[in-house]
Symmetry: C2
DNA sequence: CTCGTGGGTTGCGAAACCCAACTCACTTAT
DNA sequence: ATAAGTGAGTTGGGTTTCGCAACCCACGAG
């Protein structure tokens, strides 16, 4: 009867609103300041202001002061924010592969070895790298109710 | 000046609206019908109806008729939908790890070997499994403009 | 012939979104 | 010494979207 409790829903409470992930993308890309994020995302300024606040409150970003008088802060990733990288990469990759007219986007993340990073699925017990599509669905049968 | 073109934005156009990912979660979990998805997500019926439509239009879900008269369809994952698994797993894992009071959620995806699957980042050139947090950010310096 | 179920649609008030303009607090040009 | 520009928002307003409850239609069961 009640909605399923799920960490996905919890995650979406923090980063699931419109513009949140695009704002985070900019910070990942090294754009740390309000106007830059506005320009690169196209988000309305007021909406972005509240998004950044919830991201800070949610522990994903932290403000770093770079000027007293006038007081101005940059937005930087926390550890929690950094660890969103796999999920964001997964979405980017998916968009590239499956959404028509998505840009082939040259901007990607690089490993320290110089190679490009990719999001994948790994089996925690046998360590095997699972190709997308070989996921076994949980055996909930056709159960519909809660 | 213009917003950055990015496959992440394209992806979010398809699966970024409220309830979309939760609806997809249900389909992943084997709940294929409207009422089941409504019950398990808590989404308003009207919103869910339009979300399912955009997911179908976006090629993530497909309708599978299971009854003529009255005509009734189930929602099933397409290949594109299945390949959202890494991204969704990434978000679930992140929620579990970083969001307070997120359920420890026993429902996960399993590999054919019986182990639990996890989302990770892999280097495409050296093949190394990169621990979250070791991501090298693109060297955009402090560039702010477009 | 009424009840229940599945899959929606409709109406309407509340909330969120978007945009343009405005505010401070400075810094740099003229 | 004004004037114009930058950075980081806030404010006012109109427009969409959300969310909820109620309704509808087709059927099947009792």
């Amino acid at each position: 009867m009640n909605p399923r409790e799920c960490s996905l829903a919890s995650a979406l409470n923090v980063i699931g609103e419109k513009w949140s992930l695009l704002a985070l993308r900019e910070v990942f890309y090294g754009v740390h300041r309000f106007d830059g994020i506005v320009r690169n995302t196209g988000a309305p300024r007021d909406v972005l202001a509240t998004r950044l606040r919830t991201l800070v409150d949610g522990g994903v970003l932290r403000r770093v002061r770079y000027s007293e008088r006038p007081p101005r802060d940059e937005y930087h990733l926390t550890q929690a924010g950094l660890e969103l990288a796999p999920a964001m990469l997964g979405l980017m990759r998916w968009g590239m592969r499956w959404v028509e007219d998505a840009p082939v986007s040259a901007t990607v993340f690089t490993h320290s070895c110089g190679g490009q990073l990719d999001a994948g699925i790994v089996c925690t017990s046998c360590g095997e790298d699972v190709g997308s599509g070989e996921v076994e669905l949980p055996d909930t049968g056709t159960a519909q109710g809660s």
